[in-house]
Amino acid sequence: MRLEKCWFCSSTVYPGHGIQFVRNDAKIFRFCRSKCHKNFKMKRNPRKVKWTKAYRCLHGKDMTQDSTFEFERKRNRPERYDRNVTEQTLKAISLITKIRHERQKKHITERQKQGKTKQRERDAKELEQDIQMLPKKVTLSTQKTKVVVKVSQQQTEENLMEE
């Protein structure tokens, strides 16, 4: 089972899906769905269309450099079949995929941190400017009062006896 990549959006094309367009210079364009095929026919550049993988990688939205991508690289040299190697490979695939997803998640979180900081700054500025709009009674810094309760040794012994 060969899994191809869509020419336009770079998503995985599973067997039985999509359209294969062959140009007269024998270059093959595979599309995962009609959406990608129509965009190609409209001569749209995938680097400029925001939902494609090409755009996301180009604008730093997705990870571009990672050691996990090396495993996914296409190799045209055939390997001699070995059952043990195949078994280990299949185990490794799931593990590497898991690692890549975790790193991707981390990358996105790191990327969004800057935006959150900026948003916080904006909120603080807005609050500073429009502080007079709040009613007088509302206090911004709510102080938590700590209540200390003293328990004598005698009381604890009585509780234990009851139990």
Partner: protein, 170 residues
Amino acid sequence: MAAFLRSKCSSVGRTLMGGLGNNLFGAVNSSVETVSRPSHCDPIFQQIRTFIQMRTNLKVVDNSGAKRVMCIQSLRGKKGARLGDTIIGSVKEAQPRGKVKKGDVVYGVVVRAAMKRGRNDGSEIQFDDNAIVLVNNKGELIGTRVFGPVPHELRKKKHLKILALAEHIV
């Protein structure tokens, strides 16, 4: 009365009237208008890819001497020919001192078709243009070379010579 008003109003008015009334007159009308408008400036985008039928012009991709052939008969099916089918055509344009000349009635095998064709693996294949290779009535090639990509489905149709001479098999 309402129908009379609708007929007198402009297209915008009709749409409004249709929207206000219970029937879908305006909605249908507006949808028809949007469909009839050209979807894109590119002529390729507008062109409907269909069967190779009578009066379809095809490009000849071998060195038999013909440049352009017009289909005059499809030898398979009611609708028309598809990828890998044989057709009868009339040579409309030919090179000088070729094996065939203008006006000749020839047989040809469709090696590239712009209409989508389903494959065994469930995917679909589509080419840039409609192209044929000229053969005689026994199915033997007239030319000695085949240019451009050809699909491997021709193996099933027993056109092994075409596959052997092809530049690219896809």
